[in-house]
Amino acid sequence: MTDQELERRLRAWYRAEIADDERAPTELRVSVAAAVHASSISASRLRDRLNLALVAAAAVAVLAVASLTLNRFAPSLGVGPTPTPTPTATQSPSHPPSPSPYPCGQGVGTCRGNLQPGTYPTNGFRPAFTYTVPAGWQNDLDVHSMLVLLDAAGGQYTYPDGTTFHDGIYAFRGPNATSATSPTVVKGVGKKARDLAQWLSRHVDLVASSPAPVTVGGASGFRLQIALPTTTRTSPDRCTADHGEPRCESLFMSNVPSATPGGPDWYSFGIVGPETAVVYLLDAPSGDTVMVVIDDVDGVDRDVLVAAATPIVNSLVFAP
């Protein structure tokens, strides 16, 4: 049998197996539509559910404080090995985990949903680290290039196109400075924490603080605060087309070479409207650059969010 003969038989097999006019079953069409509608949860219902989770988890908050203290002191004392990622958030039968309002899973990482107080290792995010949360936080996403922790008590902001984002902590692997006019990398800006922090602090269309040196869980880098100025930006930004928000600035995108929009390693990060953010740019022990953002999406309760989120960011311990 020649290659051509094999190819002919394969093509014939597919033609015989699957008719050109074969249609998807009706129940599939219905189930897809139902799944889309089912994932649409109103903001008020989400808040109600998270508040309930917060009350349910309050009873174990004391344990969370103890866990937080231990995990923060152990590395700084410099004695003993780096703490092993211990699942201190073992679920007590009397405090079952609340259902997550997000459809976690389905091949997109292993999102944990509502978190009991405790320390958790990242599942998909690389470089791996552990994080410690008190009650009231939710793991919304944990994939190779991105991890999201949402603050149940935090605010939210709905853009003109109907998309809603929530206050929380967002971690990104390998951020690249991105152009305001096209989804491309800005030439001449390095990929290390210092390069990106300097670029951000000098960005003409941002109000940014000076980068302050920080060390987080074995990663050194810089922290700075950013917001949009009230003045008109110097040039149009493509991000306006994303969610219909006229005030926005595209800032970072994934640097994974194979990442394409929609792919598992793709993301973009920008700042929109009233949003303010505390940005940590860190050189992880693995050699990766990691960006951690405390993101106040509505710009209303920044101080409260930062007070709640900073201990969590400080609890990060990167794998060697």
Binding site: M1, L6, R9, L10, R11, A12, W13, Y14, R15, A16, E17, I18, E22, R23, A24, P25, L28, R29, S31, V32, A33, A35, V36, S39, S40, I41, Y102, P103, Q106, G107, V108, D140, S145, M146, V148, Y159, D161, G162, T163, T164, F165, H166, Y170, P183, C239, D242, H243, E245, C248, S258, P261, G262, G263, W266, Y267, S268, F269, G270, D295, V297
Partner: protein, 180 residues
């Protein structure tokens, strides 16, 4: 603003409606592609459903709806491949002794279909995917590489080994006179 994470969208929003419009438009072709990869209609239905759910979660990351097909194909193919991985539906056994002699037009013959189908089922998930994209969808190597986000050389390599395996299995069956 973060794009690349699950979104929460009011079901009446235009974005939700836009997604469902595209989903409806591509549903049949997507289901057929899933059939070509996993073969079993029930598995194909589940894979297509899961892929659309995943696509909906990532909907905010698709900037250009014109790229929907290519974007969704990638999600669908990965979903099918993951399902094949989990189900371990390929079994590396010699089927040449199991098939029986057919007659008439080999393409319309159910035995020919069984032999080719069984041979394809013996491939690894990665190989099944490239074979389906090449001989069902008639994609070029470059188009397959784009959809799978892998180098063209990798596509070439996977196709080479897949065809080599198919050659061996089908020729063994043919040589035993079980096909024609």
């Amino acid at each position: 603003m973060v794009d690349g994470r699950p979104l929460e969208v009011d079901k009446t929003s235009e974005r939700g409606a836009a997604f469902l419009r595209l989903a409806n438009e591509h549903l049949d072709a997507s289901y057929r592609l899933a059939r070509a990869i996993v073969r079993d209609p029930g598995e194909a239905q589940d894979a297509t459903h899961d892929a659309f759910v995943q696509a909906w979660r990532k909907w905010s990351t698709l900037r250009d709806p014109a790229l929907f097909e290519r974007w969704f194909d990638r999600i669908l193919v990965n979903t099918c491949r993951n399902r094949l991985d989990r189900a371990s539906r390929w079994h590396l056994t010699d089927i040449s002794a199991e098939v029986v002699l057919g007659s008439g037009d080999p393409i319309s013959d159910s035995h020919e279909r069984d032999v080719i189908g069984s041979a394809i089922a013996m491939l690894t998930p990665d190989h099944r995917v490239v074979v389906a994209l090449r001989y069902y969808r008639d994609f070029t190597l470059e188009e397959i590489a784009t959809r799978l986000e892998i180098p063209v050389g990798t596509v070439q390599s996977r196709l080479h080994y897949a065809l080599k395996r198919l050659h061996a299995v089908i020729e063994a069956a043919d040589a035993k006179g079980t096909i024609r």
